[in-house]
Symmetry: C2
Amino acid sequence: MMRDRITGFLKNLQDEICTGLEAADGSSLFSEDSWLHPSGGGGRSRVIADGRIFDKGGVNFSAVEGDMPAYISEQSNTDAKKFFATGVSIVIHPKSPMVPIIHMNVRYFESENGKCWFGGGIDLTPIYVVPEQSSLFHRQLKKICDKFSPTFYPDFKKAADEYFFIRHRNETRGIGGIFYDYLKPSAEFSTETLFTFMQEVGNAFLKTYLPIVEKNKNLPFTEAEKHWQLIRRGRYVEYNLVYDRGTRFGLETGGRTESILMSLPRYASWEYQYTPAPGSMEEATVSFLKKEIEWTEFRDEKTESR
Amino acid sequence: MMRDRITGFLKNLQDEICTGLEAADGSSLFSEDSWLHPSGGGGRSRVIADGRIFDKGGVNFSAVEGDMPAYISEQSNTDAKKFFATGVSIVIHPKSPMVPIIHMNVRYFESENGKCWFGGGIDLTPIYVVPEQSSLFHRQLKKICDKFSPTFYPDFKKAADEYFFIRHRNETRGIGGIFYDYLKPSAEFSTETLFTFMQEVGNAFLKTYLPIVEKNKNLPFTEAEKHWQLIRRGRYVEYNLVYDRGTRFGLETGGRTESILMSLPRYASWEYQYTPAPGSMEEATVSFLKKEIEWTEFRDEKTESR
């Protein structure tokens, strides 16, 4: 059964990612809580905190059954009353402001009348945007998408720009990535093909993130740079509590609060009208928090002009 | 005109409260930003930060005109298209975990067809609940309410319990206070009387809060107690971004983000499954974060049993 194969893949993905992150951290280990959902199924929440590299992070697996929420029936054009959903969801907050926050989610949804769809995405939130690294990250995602369809990357990149947008700040959460939802089997894409796409996205997590961690983890940083990290984490909190669909839906429908709010950072800060100094690296980062930057085509202007 | 008298009172209230808080702090002063609302009117945002007593706080005055939001038309049974709204809104985050966070809001709303109503409230969020102080706070609010109607305090206290409730944590934000909305002139209460009630609530801010500040500001505290404060502030952030109507409405309708999010603390923290130690003061505080505690009737059991 497809749902069992997907569930099996996701459990294994959670294991692999936790092992990979633990090895990268070299100090802290994930601790696990298993929990049951009131309406059926449950999950394994894994959390790492106060490591050498990672300040706080969660790698969540869940597979739950229950009554179909009204807004999903509407958005997905189904009149089914029951659903099954399984997914892996990750947010990692590193200690160093030189290492970006990362988020990844892959999920599979099935309604009782046999309809199913896939959703997910992966996006990066650097505290300091390094264009070369952002470009590489996007090129890696494009390469995966291009194996399936030339429309996947442009469509899902645009969807990430739209979705990971902090409207009240008029800025994107980070440099984006890909985001997709309600990806249904069709003449073009079988369930099998979409499952393969899910696997590729899931497996991209360690491949894209660990090299970024390695590259930046030993860079020195100042108190002021650490403070900027706390401010950016504050924006992350704003996004997750105000806009993130999974968070809001989970809190509203009585999901497991501690697992849902794993995504919040260990420390965050808010300052009234914090404004980066003109010409600063912080100001440069804000200038990159925009939709429609073609990261895959990014060229280093300094290198170009040499 | 009533709206001008109310606006005048509120501006003056903002001045008095800022002066009172500055005197209590003894170190930092409020800084002011005046701003204009896109659809008409504007406000004066005043912020204090990194003081001797207050870590971060905002005292906001605004008087804006605009198009009636749909949800207010519905809730208030009016088909008017334009509104006028003025209010003072305050959140204060002290440095010491021994001094409670306080929130106060008084507002007046008028629609173009001549209908008007008052709303507001005042509530306390101690990091460590001191029952005697919580009881005094509620008795002071009851005394004000009782001058107007014997139903005001019980009704508005209950409304505060319901409103300042963090559903996904199954706990109240603090020890509550009073909350009221859509309080309209009637045979029983003239606009004049309701305006007097607004003045009494507004003037209660310094009278109730400054003695609490004085009483607690010099108490010693540990690093662990400071950490508990950051955790509780995290809950405050959750409440404001997930549930607070003013915050959500303001962010959704393009209000001034920096003024709306003045309510967020300078520093906050989230820890996965933070659980107070059995028998600790933190655990005792959580036991008081419940609806329907009759604070005005609180008796110190230790004193009673002597």
